[in-house]
């Protein structure tokens, strides 16, 4: 996958580019807004990672201009500014996701994967499958190996999010943001407890576990 990184802090840029390349992506980099915009408009990228504050052309402006030119590349904003209202501003300007510095690289990677996945929607899906686990989005019923699984509404949403990102690492913050719509860090790790409840419902009594913990990163649902 081809990724554009626009970041003026060269140290951070080097780390980001190196990390993404090691993860198997093709990366172009720019250190200011103008160069970033030129690259974004002249080549096709799967995702752009854009710092909020850039010399020459501000990150918000950059993305707004990309959108004005009809460029729909998913954008992940990185920001060292304070959070409360900046997220809203970033998303309004056309950003698709927002990450505050300092971030864990796995978090960034998981979000980039999620953005790429969103880019290629496989039509409107009414059913999700992972191994022998099925989720019917219309009847809101879950089944594993033909056995019905009773889920609370929030558990259903949690499982749906995990299954939509099957095979991908999903971080706790991503779950909190997407399933609960909270953008703050609960002091205790409440997500882990929700996951272990869900795991008890879908994996208990089955030989092959589907819901895996990815150490130091988050969770992943996959068939094998």
């Amino acid at each position: 996958m081809r990724i554009l990184v626009v970041e003026d802090d060269l140290e951070a840029q080097r780390y980001l580019v190196q990390g993404l390349k090691e993860s198997g992506h093709v990366v172009d980099e720019a250190a200011d807004g103008d160069t970033g915009l030129n690259l974004a408009l002249s080549r096709a990228y799967d995702v752009a990672v854009v710092d909020r504050m850039l010399p020459r052309l501000d990150g918000l402006r950059l993305v707004a201009e990309m959108r004005e030119h009809g460029n729909a590349t998913p954008v992940l904003f990185l920001s060292a500014l304070s959070e409360v209202d900046d997220r809203v501003k970033g998303l309004k300007a056309g950003g698709d996701d927002y990450l505050t510095k300092p971030y864990a690289f796995v978090e960034l990677l998981a979000r980039i994967d999620a953005l790429m996945r969103r880019r290629a929607p496989a039509g409107i899906r009414t059913r999700l499958d992972v191994g022998d686990l099925e989720l019917d989005l219309l009847t809101r019923a879950a089944k594993r190996n033909g056995t019905d699984i009773e889920l609370q509404p929030r558990e259903f949403r949690l499982l749906e999010y995990l299954m939509r990102h099957a095979g991908q690492v999903v971080t706790r913050t991503m779950l909190l943001e997407s399933v609960w719509e909270y953008h703050f860090d609960p002091q205790t790790n409440v997500i882990d407890v929700h996951i272990s409840r869900l795991r008890a419902k879908i994996d208990k009594g089955f030989e092959a576990p589907l819901l895996h913990t990815v150490r130091g990163a988050g969770y992943m649902i996959r068939a094998h």
């Binding site: 951070a12 409360v84 703050f184 407890v193």
Partner: protein
């Protein structure tokens, strides 16, 4: 914002009313004094004429006796004038004079008398007022010497009937004038109040419009505007400082975390144990967490955050947060109970209120021993809209309560449990941002009840989408 007062309750109207009353009182006193003085002078003049008359008649009587007196009275009454005479015998029968019969005395000021009599004026009989004196004449005769004072009497009557109407008119005109004046003032004040309200609601760019007349209201508005310019400048400065502090600290923290991750990856690739690096990353994350919390508290407390306000249903916020923490409570064998509530919407920021409530619930679960209960409740009371979390933990001693909302304050008892010591400070800052109060009370029989009390004025009609969701 306070509701605007009616015209009749304004200070301006009250001042005008007091002034009008004072003015009416002065006018009454002044006119009363003039009336009294004029009447005294006129009466003295009349009395002088009568006294002179009596002196003349007495002399006649001394020289010529009763017949002389009768003759003089007759000659003096030949021409109709102001002077009135009546001489009667002991049976009060007419002897001489231009009055008949003996009149009914209606008033007796001093040794003078006042009475009404009939007289023909231009062919009509008329009742007129006279003032005079009664003299005994030897032989049981009585002589009444008087002056016609009807004109003075009429003036007097007119005066006494007009005065109450005059005062009434003064009061009426004064009140109407006062009301007009205060409604004008009120309109000007209303403009200032409305603008202030909008500014409090968060639009710092608003300014009070000037009428251009350069009056005291314009001066006040100009001063307010200057003050607002300054506040806006300060707020902007503060925001810039927060932004640069955030940027200048986050950038190196980001590099630090990147390097630690890099080292960790390298060591792991070489197959070396890297526990130290992992712990360093955890410490860095804790540092970042504290920094983020501090920044959020500072911004929220100063009101510099542009956090969007929208109507939100508190029962829903409480239910969501309770739902998020329920598995955690269960794991700790604490029962988390969401109390039923009728739907109530307030104007607020969902993220901030949810975060504050999450902090309270998190604390409550942390400090409640196994088997205990944590209750979450959203309710409308007569003191406001309340969002409260009650636990059955050890509670907070009364004396420590004001301290726990301060930044970094952690009580001895909890010194070694995890946490930044900023949780309650953030709750207090969120309360402050919403004009709400954070109350810490005893929960009977044991524990703490933390309540966020939003003012009645924050209540908003339920948005239809929320209403449907609540049903």
């Amino acid at each position: 914002m306070r509701t605007k007062p009616g015209v009749l309750r304004t200070q301006a109207f009250r001042i005008v009313l007091v002034y009008v009353l004072l003015f009416a009182f002065s006018v009454t006193a002044l006119l009363g004094f003039t009336y009294w003085n004029t009447r005294r002078t006129l009466d003295a003049q009349t009395d002088q004429i009568i006294e002179a008359d009596i002196t003349g008649l007495t002399e006649e009587y001394h020289h010529f006796g009763l017949p002389g007196l009768v003759e003089t009275v007759r000659s003096r009454t030949l021409h109709q004038g102001q002077a009135l005479y009546l001489l009667v015998d002991h049976l009060h029968h007419y002897v001489a004079g231009n009055l008949d019969p003996w009149p009914q005395i209606s008033d007796q000021p001093g040794d003078m008398v006042e009475f009404d009599f009939e007289r023909s004026v231009n062919g009509h009989m008329e009742t007129r007022r006279a003032r005079g004196r009664i003299l005994p004449v030897p032989g049981e005769f009585e002589l009444l010497v008087a002056q016609d004072v009807h004109d003075r009497y009429l003036t007097e009557r007119m005066f006494t009937t007009t005065l109450p109407w005059t005062v009434l008119l003064i009061l009426l005109l004064g009140t109407v004038g006062g009301a007009l004046m205060s409604s004008n003032m009120l309109r000007r004040l209303d403009t200032i109040n409305r603008t202030s309200g909008e500014i409090i609601a968060g639009d710092l760019s608003r300014r009070v419009p000037l009428a251009g007349s350069g009056d005291e209201f314009d001066v006040l508005s100009e001063n307010l505007n200057r003050m607002l310019d300054r506040i806006e400048r300060l707020m902007k400065g503060l925001r810039e400082v927060t932004d640069s502090v955030a940027h200048d600290l986050r950038t190196p923290l980001n590099r630090l975390r990147n390097r630690l991750e890099e080292s960790l990856a390298r060591l792991q690739a070489e197959g070396t144990q890297a526990g130290e690096i992992e712990r360093a990353i955890a410490e860095t994350d804790q540092l970042i967490g504290t920094f983020n919390a501090l920044l959020l508290i500072a911004e929220t407390d100063a009101g510099t955050t542009r956090a969007a306000m929208a109507p939100l249903e508190l029962g829903g916020v409480a239910a969501d947060v309770a739902e998020l923490y329920e598995p955690l409570a269960e794991e700790k064998k604490v029962s988390l109970v969401l109390m039923p509530s009728s739907p109530v919407a307030i104007e607020g920021n969902r993220s901030l209120i949810a975060q504050a409530l999450a902090n309270l619930v998190d604390n409550a679960i942390k400090y409640t021993p196994a088997g205990g209960t944590v209750r979450v409740r959203a309710a409308v009371t007569d003191r406001g809209v309340e969002l409260s979390v009650a636990d059955s933990g050890p509670g907070i001693p009364q004396t420590d309560r004001p301290r726990v909302v301060e930044r970094f304050v952690r009580l001895e008892a909890s010194r070694n449990s995890p946490g930044t010591g900023l949780g309650l400070s953030l709750v207090a800052a969120v309360a402050h941002f919403h004009n709400a109060e954070l109350l810490l009370d005893d929960n009977m029989p044991t524990g703490l009840e933390a309540t966020l009390r939003f003012p009645q004025t924050a209540i908003r009609p339920l948005p239809t989408t929320l209403k449907n969701a609540a049903e």
